[in-house]
Amino acid sequence: MPNGERRVYNRLEVLRVERGLSRRQLADQLDINHQTVGYIERGDYNPSLDLALRIAELFLLPIEAIFGRSPMQPLSSAIFGDQRRQSVQ
């Protein structure tokens, strides 16, 4: 990642593995190089808005469920943690 660029955290690897896709298969669906998927997962490359939107469309998720400015908590905690908090309240 170029110096000075803020890191964008993501859940790409979890979502890809969850759907049983290899990096190459995901890359083919997104029309990018398979290594680019690896660089995004590793946080070495921040995708463009266009690519981020294509990823969100592919996984049928809102973009903020995949990318964020702070380290991502596990999806299960993000979903069920909220539900639990609401039920306690």
Partner: protein, 158 residues
């Protein structure tokens, strides 16, 4: 999308790639300087030739490896570049321009100091040919070498 680099050097780790770039960049000017120094010291012609050829072979090999590693991704021939490749290529060109600026400024300052301290310089084939060789070889190869310098280690396959 087509695999962008089928080179056997694709898996070179960054420290090794950077070593290749340094050898490629420094090798030729160093060879020429050593040649002049050894000539002035009156060393055997065969010894000078041997050292010069060895240094040049190392330099040419390094430039070929560095250029070969990044060639397709710099000129875009035979491979489709995605957005990350294109962004990295732009960074490589910017860095190549900075390096070129640095080298040109340093060379002009050094020449200026040399000439203003009472020395003279004759422009003939002996002085012009190394500069010509450098321009012909390095200016086209510089962006590829810079790309080899900045590219991070590829992620492990999954």
């Amino acid at each position: 999308m087509t695999n962008r680099c089928a080179s056997p050097f694709e898996r070179l780790r960054r420290p090794r790639r950077r070593l290749v770039v340094v050898v490629g960049l420094v090798g030729y000017p160093l060879s020429v300087v050593l040649l002049r120094l050894f000539k002035a010291a009156g060393l055997s012609r065969w010894l000078i030739l041997g050292i010069f050829l060895a240094a040049m072979a190392l330099t040419v090999a390094a430039v070929c490896v560095g250029y070969g590693w990044a060639r397709g991704r710099i000129d875009g021939r035979g491979v489709r570049l995605d957005e990350r490749d294109r962004a990295l290529r732009e960074q490589a060109y910017v860095r190549a321009q900075r390096v070129l600026e640095l080298i040109l400024v340093a060379a002009v300052v050094a020449l200026g100091l040399y000439l203003t301290t009472g020395h003279t310089m004759r422009l003939n084939a002996n002085t012009f040919l190394p500069v010509l060789m450098w321009v012909v070889v390095y200016i086209p190869a510089l962006p590829a070498l810079m790309l080899a310098w900045i590219e991070p280690n590829p992620p492990a396959d999954a």
